[in-house]
């Protein structure tokens, strides 16, 4: 790194320029990744939090291959077929519907999750006591919009429910989830003119369970939690385009950063040829050149990451934005690797080139 550091100090302007471009791209990629994760979380976090081994849907109508939360409806018979089957620990019915809650003049959209029994069960976030009959558990954003706190009364389909707890938001299809008992949910659905017993089953299984066989017996379609997310219609339609945008941004960044470091390395080519002619070992030249690229990348990506975190903290309350090691560090690491690949790509011909060029021989 002897030459590398001296070059960086000597050509400070060029160094700052390339570092800034790297930082800007890091911000762009980091921000979009965080936003995508935030939007995805607003779609699916409640389903991810169910802690189920499989989600059981009613079998899709003929001609449709994939089950969906919107169309699914589970009967008590299907529920008992599942809970009686071998290898099934629990099969909890879950009612899901989207509605508007009201408190006085105020309204707020919410996703109603009807859960079977009061007391301890696995479908609510850990440590949250389940609602008793006539009670509802709200997420903070709904409670805020409605201007209510624990003990207040909110209405759903003309049903009055007492707020038993306000907890961190869990999200389903961009609505904050409100939890109530399954009978209350069924009552609300009936009043809303769409009677139903439950929407899906959240089941926990032992290794011995044969979900396909149970599906056949119960006329259901069960999915592991991750594939089940695609059964949330809004998620299915959003995630594809978001991932496409992130993927394209990554591709463009790869080209820009790769090209930058290709050029950066090529402008060092004459000096590398001289050092090679003087007898410098190839390994040392590789280390010096890639080391220099790494310094520029680390500085640029570091600044970009800090800026992304800063922006994320500012934006966090206004837009769904997830700041996590996965959304910050992974894109950053990706950019560093891409930059090094760009540098290495340019280094190959430089190292193979004829040190004769350094003697000023006509070529």
């Amino acid at each position: 790194m002897f030459v590398a550091w001296r070059e960086i100090r000597f050509a400070r302007g060029r160094f700052v320029l390339i570092g800034s471009v790297v930082a800007l791209i890091t911000i762009l990629v980091g921000f979009l990744t965080g936003l995508t994760a935030g939007l995805a979380g607003q779609n699916v976090s409640a389903v991810m939090g169910l802690g189920a081994d499989r989600i059981v849907f009613s079998a899709p109508a003929h001609g449709e291959s994939d089950p969906s939360f919107g169309d699914s409806s589970i009967t008590p018979e299907q529920a008992s077929t599942w809970s009686d089957a071998a290898g099934v620990n629990t099969a909890e019915p879950l009612g899901i519907s989207q509605t508007r809650l009201s408190a006085g003049e105020r309204r707020s959209p919410a996703a109603l999750f009807g859960v079977s029994s009061a007391g301890t069960h696995t479908l609510l976030p850990e440590g949250v006591p389940g609602p008793h009959s006539g009670e509802i558990v709200l997420g903070t954003s709904v409670a805020k919009t409605l201007g209510v706190s624990t003990g207040a009364t909110v209405g759903a389909f003309g049903l009055d429910l007492r707020v038993s707890a306000v907890i961190d938001d869990a999200w389903y299809a961009h609505s904050s989830v409100a939890w109530l008992t399954l009978p209350d949910w069924q009552e609300a659905m009936a009043r809303g003119g769409q009677p139903a017993w439950a929407t899906v089953l959240a089941v926990s299984l032992t290794d011995a369970a044969q979900p396909d066989a149970i599906d056949a017996a119960a006329h259901t379609a069960s999915r592991a939690p991750l594939p089940a997310l695609l059964s949330i219609e809004s998620f299915r339609s959003e995630i594809g385009s978001l991932l496409l945008i992130v993927g394209m941004l990554f591709g463009i960044s790869a080209l820009v950063i790769g090209a930058f470091f290709t050029v950066w390395t090529i402008q060092r080519a004459p000096d590398i040829a001289v050092l090679k002619a003087l007898g410098a070992r190839t390994g040392r030249l590789v280390r010096d050149t890639l080391g220099q690229a790494l310094v520029v990348l680390l500085a640029g990506v570091g600044v970009g990451m800090l800026a992304t975190i800063g922006l994320g903290l500012l934006a966090g309350s206004a837009v769904p934005f997830v700041l996590s090691p996965a959304t910050i560090a992974l894109p950053a690491l990706g950019l560093i690797i891409l930059g090094l690949i760009g540098g290495a790509f340019a280094l190959r011909p430089v190292l193979r080139s004829d040190p004769l060029a350094a003697l000023g021989a006509p070529r």
């Binding site: 002897f2 030459v3 001296r6 070059e7 100090r9 000597f10 050509a11 004459p270 000096d271 001289v274 050092l275 090679k276 002619a277 003087l278 007898g279 410098a280 070992r281 190839t282 040392r284 030249l285 010096d288 004829d354 040190p355 004769l356 350094a358 003697l359 000023g360 021989a361 006509p362």
Partner: protein, 233 residues
Amino acid sequence: MIELNDVTLTFPDGERTVTAVDHASLTVPPGSITAIIGASGSGKSSLLAVASALIQPDSGAVHVAGVDLMGLSPAEATAVRREHIGIVFQQSNLLPALTALDQLAVMNELDGHSRAARAETRERARALLARVGLAGHENKRPHQLSGGQRQRVNIARALMNDPRVLIVDEPTSALDHARGQEIITLILELTRDRGTSTLLVTHDRSHLARMDQVLVMSDGVLTAHDPHAAIAA
């Protein structure tokens, strides 16, 4: 000692091949200096490239500093250049970002030696710069030096690892006559002091009388030349 025996080097040139060096032989004993003159494109730089282990000839025998250069791998040739051969390039090929002192130290620094070895390297670089008349210029970068001073840095750099062979390509082409004479005098003195086998390409015939041996290159063919008849030629 530099010994070339019946060396031929060709370059592919589209359909045909160019014979840059044509059955050339020469011997440069330690402590002596051999000059090569010849028209542009006659193959002088190509011959130097062979003698400095930068390129392998098609045929012939090459011995430099006691090493047989034929059949060396690129890495082995690199090691021979590093350990035994000092090269002064035609143009000033200094690295723009480095000070004069660092230009000399860079080869050893790239190898990442111990603290003591680094201090020793800097000391030697300082002494060599003083030897070529650049005391006080150690911390200047190439753009802060004159053409003649840059050429002196080049010469000092070639001597850093105490080579037994010194290869110099047109060291005075960018300099005025007086500056050129000074550089030739310096190379002569260093050759005598250090006992290097020095091979020098020049286009300035006024230097030839001071050489131990003068060879003329013409279309790749090397012929002997009487140094003292040079001016008349």
